[in-house]
Structures are given as structure tokens and as C-alpha cells.
């Protein structure tokens, strides 16, 4: 498995995915959500998939055929990925002494913190 390098770009991608962890996104969509160019996104997605934080699969034929376009590759964050990402991002934030954004709290709560 291993851990991906937490570059700023990787953090942006993870944050975009954690906004709605149940939702699957395709590469171009993540470019827009994370505000990153295509050339940056795909290597990050490939790396995150390699370490098991993401899973990818081809789009359901019923959907893309109905819309008459080629099938897209969709990425979703895994259970392990979501936990690991929250933890890593929280650590990054703490080390910079910044206020924690909302999506970290899910992880904090499991860690036993009240409120």
C-alpha cells in the first residue's frame, strides 16, 4: 500500500473527493473541483489508486449510451482512503496551526472528541 506524497495538489484532489465521499467523479470533473489542470490530475489519481485510496471503474453503459458519448472512467474514494485521507489532511492542517475545516470533524469524532 504505502502513503502518497502529500503535495498541495494531492491535498486539493483529496479535499474535492471528501466533499462528497459517496460520489464518483471522472477526471475532468475533478480538474474543475480541485482547480487543477488535466496533466496534474491524472498522475495523482493513478497514484492514489495504486495505494488503494481510490477505486476506478468504467461508467455504466446505460448512462453513457443514453447520452450518446464515450464512457468515462469514474473515481471513488474507498473507505480506507477516506479515513487515511482525513487523518493525513488533519495532520497537515494541525502542523500549520490552521482551523480544521468541516470534513475533518468526522474523523475527529471517531477519535473520541466531543462537541
Amino acid at each position: 500500500m504505502g502513503t502518497p506524497r502529500m503535495t498541495l495538489q494531492t491535498q486539493l484532489v483529496l479535499r474535492a473527493l471528501l466533499e462528497d465521499p459517496a460520489r464518483q467523479r471522472y477526471g475532468l470533473e475533478l480538474c474543475e473541483l480541485a482547480g487543477l489542470p488535466s496533466g496534474t490530475i491524472y498522475p495523482i489519481l493513478a497514484r492514489l489508486e495504486q495505494v488503494g485510496w481510490l477505486e476506478s471503474s468504467w461508467e455504466d453503459p446505460a448512462v453513457h449510451e443514453a447520452e450518446g458519448r464515450p464512457r468515462r472512467r469514474f473515481y471513488g474514494i474507498t473507505q480506507d482512503g477516506a479515513e487515511a485521507a482525513r487523518e493525513t489532511l488533519a495532520r497537515t492542517y494541525r502542523s500549520r496551526k490552521q482551523p480544521l475545516p468541516g470534513w475533518v470533524s468526522a474523523h475527529q469524532a471517531t477519535g473520541g472528541g466531543a462537541s
Partner: protein
Amino acid sequence: MKRQRRFPPSSTARTDLTPTLEGVIAVVRSRHPDSDAGLLERAYAEASIWHAGQRRRSGDPYITHCLAVAAIVAELRMPPPVVCAALLHDVEDTACPPQRIADQLGQEVADLIAAVRTAVVSAHPQTGEGAMLASDAAAPSWETAALAIRLADRLHNMRTIAFVAPARRLLKARETFDVFAPAASAVGLETVGRELQDLASAVLQPAVSSYAVTGRLLTVLTLLLPSQQRARWQEEWSADLAALTTRRARTRFTLHVLLGAPRLSMTLRRPASQEQRRRAGRRGWL
């Protein structure tokens, strides 16, 4: 004081090219002088009711499409019930109750609309009707009438294809070129066939210069990747590329993929993890 009992002309959003009901009736009358304009007016009224509020991708009221298809069918010298079916060819996609068209306009029109749905458009028709249609359009067979409406529908969709998203536009143009245009010519509708072919090639030609070039470049880029991964990335990039609407956005997308390709290639070749780092450490790379 009402001078005419006419249906609302709603000319507001129409371009000058959009045919009017009056125009359609005039064309039908010129071929079938004793035909009943009332039937066409009722069909138009039904279409107006059930397509009310719907719009084309162009933003035009949906009824403009019904009228345009009816006008094409009328120009083909089809009799009034076929022109009525053309006006109502998409009514099954609306809230219109199934029995209503038969009640209002007769079973023949209702059956024709259903036949349009099931009409098989084939580049090589099996029926052998061939060129009968053009000469015999005033009394066409069931299949011929249904096919004429399908072709007219496609013709108007191709005339307004500019409003369709690029990926779908190419798909439709390809299908039009390969199937609909030959089908039209095969049943003797050469003018329709030729126009379909011209409209389709107009879409397909520029695609060769802009869309496909970026697509081809992406294919070349995948050569940087490990061979067993190429097909996946090629397909993924093409699909994402197809989601972009402007040529400029596609160019930028491709350029960035180009810049990122070496990194992706490195990532994919890396066996993912500490094991590799350990190995590297042993060899003294770090």
C-alpha cells in the same frame, strides 16, 4: 371581435425560416386540393397543447420542430393524415393520454405515429419498394409514410444540429451519413438524401481538423505509458476530452495531459510502495 378562429400564432421566438401552419396547409392543399384543413388544424392544436412549454436545444418552442417536420413531409407530397402524424410524431413523449390522438384525429393518424416509432431506417431496405415512393407519394404505403416522417425528423434535427453538444453531434452526423442519407436515396427521396449527406459531412469534416487532431495527439501520448495501461488512459482521456465544448478548452486539456504524461508514466511504472523505496535504498539511489 374574433375575426378568425385560429390557433395562437406565437410567432415571438420563431425565426423567419420556421414554417407556419398556414404554410403547411397551403402546401398540402396544392397537392391534395380537396383535403380537409380542419384535420391539420386539429393536429396542430394537439401538438401545441402537449408540447406546450417544451423547448428545443436551440431555445425555440418545441412546436417549431413539429411544424418543420410537417412542412418537409408536405413538400414530399404526402397526404394530410401523414402530415398530421408528422405534426404529432413526438407526442408519445409527452403527457398526452394514449387513446387521445385516435379519439381526436382518427385511428389512422394514431397508427401512423406508432409506425414512425417502429420504422426501421436501413441503408439497404429489404422491402424492394425502392424508387416507388417519389412517384407514388400521394398514396404511399404505411411503411413508406412512416419512413418519410422519420427521415424528415432527422433532416430537421440535422438542420439544427449546431445546438447539440459536440460528442452527440458527431454521433448523429455519423449515423445520418451512414444510414439515413442512403435510406432516403434508396426510397427515391434523393433531395432529402442529398441534404442529409451534406449536413452530415459538414459536421464530420471540421471534426477531422480540430477534434480528431487533439484526439490523435492523446493517442500518441499514451505511447509514453506502460503498454498494458495504454488502452485505458486513451479511452479515459478521449471521454474527458469529449466533455469539453470549445476547441480552446480541448487544446488546453491535451497540452496539460502532454505536460503531465511523463509523471503519469513514472507513477504507473512505480510498483507502489516502500518495497520499492527499500530496493532503491539498497542500491544507494537515495
